[in-house]
């Protein structure tokens, strides 16, 4: 039989073996096997689901993916109010309470462990946006430029139609199944399993599950942090280890490491200022907030990044409204289970206290700027 791409005539020459592909199907009771495998998978999945529900995982806790962030980013237009920053403003702000307080629901774009600087620049470059940006500042993250979630902006620029559809479908499943969570993946669990260490290596330290997300990224910290002391202690241990390992090394004679040079601080403030000016030129505004912390963070932030050199300069040189918990009695004395984030009910209470102060500061600053023009 000659090789041919036409079915009507034989080919003219055939220097090759016959290339007709045959795919034999092994003779097996395929239907029964397929149905048995499917039934077993359903039963096993049901058991898996029950296991994770018994371990405090809940359905409707959405994955904190770039696609979910992109979905919220698409909502930013006109005079929207947008929250950016790191995990503190992300977990400690209750969007329902915020909306209740002033009738505007902010769009939550904060990302854990991530400096807000590139995200402010992203909003500044968006000509369709002329609203208000509330920047949650974790001073060490902002001034070191640390961006844990560098995947997000890249993703937004290249998201394909299939990725967008995938996110919609995945969220339908996440509404139903509690086990759909980054932390329940076997790969992740194995990664965090403590095995004997090779000589000279330190134990691996990584953040465990901390938060629960709703569909619009309205987020609170996970109930297990309040209820399980060992888990809470583990979270504190991780923060302490992070700070120890990331601290700059001391000098050769044990003297403290040199402070961050002024040039580096100036560069961050200049970049922030450039973005802020663009947003203000379109009629928008930018304000800064600092959320509470305690424990190991007190020394690391207050001594490592003194207020006068960092925070005070940032708000003064960008001429921005600002609120830091240090200055207001109403913003102090909240419960932070693992030193860095508020318990859920506390986040509601905190948001209720923060919003009027923040908007008062924004109005005051606008009036000041108006008077100076």
């Amino acid at each position: 039989m000659p090789s041919s791409t036409s079915n009507s005539k034989p080919s003219l020459a055939r220097p090759f073996d016959d290339e007709i592909v045959r795919r034999p199907v092994p003779t097996r009771p395929w239907k029964g096997l397929a149905l048995t495998a499917l039934a077993a998978t359903i039963v096993l999945t049901f058991g898996w689901e029950l296991y994770w529900r018994a371990h405090d995982h809940i359905p409707g806790d959405f994955k904190n993916t770039p696609a979910l962030w992109a979905q919220e980013r698409r909502k930013v237009e006109g005079d929207a109010t947008v929250l950016i920053g790191s995990s503190r403003i992300f977990f400690d702000t209750d969007l329902d309470v915020w909306e209740e307080a002033i009738g505007v629901r902010p769009i939550q774009l904060a990302l854990e462990g991530t400096s807000p600087e590139p995200f402010l620049a992203n909003l500044a470059a968006d000509e369709g946006f002329r609203g208000t940006v509330i920047v949650g500042v974790a001073v060490p993250l902002l001034f070191t430029g640390y961006v844990y979630r560098d995947d997000v902006l890249k993703y937004v620029g290249t998201e394909s139609p299939s990725q967008r559809i995938d996110n919609v479908l995945s969220m339908q499943l996440e509404k139903v199944f509690a086990f759909l969570d980054e932390q329940t993946r076997p790969k992740r669990m194995w990664f965090l399993t403590a095995l004997p260490l090779r000589k000279g290596m330190e134990q691996r330290v990584d953040v465990r599950k901390l938060e629960v997300l709703k569909a619009d990224r309205n987020t609170e910290i996970w109930s297990r942090l309040m209820e399980d002391e060992a888990y809470r202690d583990l979270a504190k241990y991780v923060w302490a280890e992070f700070l120890r390992r990331q601290a700059p090394p001391p000098g050769p004679n044990g003297e403290p490491p040199p402070p961050m040079p002024d040039e580096a601080i100036n560069a961050v403030i200049l970049n922030m200022k450039a973005s802020i000016n663009k947003i203000r030129a379109r009629g928008g505004d930018v304000a800064f907030v600092r959320m509470p912390y305690e424990g190991v963070y007190t020394a690391a932030e207050d001594q490592g990044f003194p207020r006068e050199r960092f925070w005070d300069r940032l708000v003064a040189e960008t001429d921005s409204a600002s609120v830091t918990w240090h200055d207001y009695r109403e913003l102090q004395g909240y419960y932070l289970p693992e030193w860095s984030h508020l318990a859920p009910r506390e986040a509601e209470r905190y948001t209720r206290a923060l919003v009027p102060i923040l908007y008062e500061q924004i109005e005051k600053k606008e009036a000041e700027r108006g008077a100076n023009e």
């Binding site: 090789s3 079915n7 080919s11 003219l12 795919r23 299939s162 790969k187």
Partner: protein
């Protein structure tokens, strides 16, 4: 490896898409309508990644459809050659612009600098269309077959368009020959029940290879090792390289298996692309088992047309090397890929030299000699993977130094959490390849107890559920 923009088999979108395609394909519709459905589905499949790039498929389709007809009609050798050049220029032009443009500019800039002329290459922000190397080669094969009088052009534009675009193998192969696929579109095709279920079984196997074995068990070691800066401890370097050897196999073989299963669920047969490559004894054997559709393409459309082994011994070695260097470049616009291909060319040449000069001995047929040669082959293949995976020659040099204990101040970057899965999976992979090296998967399934097939199928499905999908696109999408 960067995250590609996904149009994945391992996505929920594909599950829904495929269910709709199967439903339409099973509906009582005329065959021509079903083929239109498949064509539209294939365009949607590609557009789901980046809609404008569907135009490239249309260009390739239109040009090769017309060129093949002109070549077939023409009796004048010069005109025939001109039309073939038109096809090649279009396909290779598209490929060159999107895939090799930046590479060419950078090399031009370096060349200018070397002769004292400063040339600043312009910024090259061109997105690489996924699968471009696969479908351009597939369409070129059509015009080449007609030019070389190996086959006639098809009479149906619909069948030809579907051949260029058929979604199961569109973006990462197997690179199917016109003679393998176009005739299948002539008659109505619907999967029989056994074909459909076996197709689903193949899809499950492919997804398991990709999501569980490649992404979950091997990628952590490979990524940690190749993502590290500086010298590594020999254990780390070897673990990373071995993990990559498995990762790339399971990733690519997984894709091919899913493609074959997907096509089979619709009643079409695609050829095998892998046959237990890590059980290869020697490199000609390796290339009969690894990425078979590319190696046979290169053999039939490059190696043989430039003379193959018909122009004397010296030319044979040169032809082998040219073929493998270009095969390396096909994988990516980087000199590291060219060196990867060059090493394979060297290995093939050395093997040929040995075969021609060392008389066959009886003990060559012994099992232990074969195992030893198989392990030597796998070892040498791993050396080539260093160049394939490294981002630069400096990294490849450091990695090779680390593997052989020559690196200064070696660091440890991976934990037992990465080493243990790598050892288990790679050990199991090489053993399985050896045990099955002369058998097909279908042969094995045919004699496996029913209960065991059911248990393995359920374990694979459950693993896919709890793994919750993939972290990354298929590696070969970027080629």
């Amino acid at each position: 490896m960067g995250e590609s923009r996904r149009v994945l088999f391992n996505s929920l979108t594909f599950v829904v898409f495929f269910a709709i395609v199967v439903a339409l394909h099973s509906a009582p519709l005329p065959w021509r309508v079903k083929k239109f459905n498949l064509l539209i589905a294939s365009y949607l499949f590609y557009a789901a990644w980046n809609p404008p790039f569907v135009i490239l498929l249309w260009i390739s389709t239109a040009v090769d459809w017309q060129v093949a007809r002109w070549i077939h009609r023409s009796t004048d050798a010069g005109r025939r050659r001109f039309f073939l050049i038109l096809s090649m220029a279009t396909n290779l032009g598209i490929l060159g612009y999107f895939k090799y443009g930046e590479f060419l500019l950078q090399n031009f800039s370096t060349l200018m600098e070397s002769i004292g002329i400063t040339y600043q290459a312009p910024e090259w922000n061109i997105i690489l269309p996924i699968g471009i190397s696969f479908y351009t080669f597939q369409t070129m094969a059509y015009s080449l077959d007609v030019y070389l009088k190996r086959s006639e052009p098809t009479k149906s534009l619909l069948d030809f368009s579907l051949f260029v675009t058929f979604f199961p193998q569109l973006v990462a192969g197997p690179i199917v020959r016109p003679t393998q696929l176009i005739p299948q579109f002539a008659e109505p095709k619907t999967a029989t029940a056994p074909q459909f279920y076996w197709g689903l079984g193949l899809i499950t196997i492919g997804l398991f290879e990709k999501i569980v074995l490649a992404d979950s068990l091997l990628a952590p070691a490979a990524d940690a090792v190749f993502g590290a800066n500086g010298s590594l401890a020999a254990l780390d370097a070897w673990t990373g390289v071995l993990a990559f050897s498995g990762q790339i196999f399971f990733d690519f073989s997984g894709y091919s298996t899913i493609a074959i299963g997907t096509a089979l669920c619709l009643g079409f047969a695609l050829p095998n692309n892998f046959l237990y490559p890590y059980a290869a004894i020697g490199f000609s054997d390796f290339w009969r088992r690894w990425h078979i559709s590319l190696s046979t393409w290169l053999r039939d459309y490059l190696y043989i047309p430039i003379g193959g082994n018909k122009k004397g011994s010296a030319r044979t070695y040169v032809n082998l090397m040219i073929t493998m260097l270009l095969g390396g470049l096909w994988h990516g616009a980087s000199w590291t890929f060219v060196v990867w291909g060059g090493l394979h060319g060297l290995y093939l040449g050395a093997e040929r030299l040995l075969r021609e000069n060392v008389p066959a001995q009886e003990w060559f047929k012994s099992l232990w000699f074969k195992i030893a040669m198989g392990l030597v082959t796998y070892f040498l293949v791993n050396i080539t993977w260093v160049f394939f995976r490294s981002q630069s020659f400096d990294q490849a040099k450091t990695m090779l130094g680390s593997m052989f204990g020559l690196a200064p101040e070696p660091q440890k970057v991976i934990y037992l959490n990465e080493i243990i899965p790598t050892v288990i999976v790679i050990g199991a992979m090489v053993t399985t390849h050896w045990l099955l090296r002369l058998r097909s998967m279908e042969d094995v399934i045919a004699v496996t107890p029913k209960w065991l097939i059911g248990v393995i199928w359920a374990i694979m499905l459950f693993s896919l559920v709890i793994t919750q999908g993939s972290d990354s696109a298929f590696i070969y999408f970027q080629f």
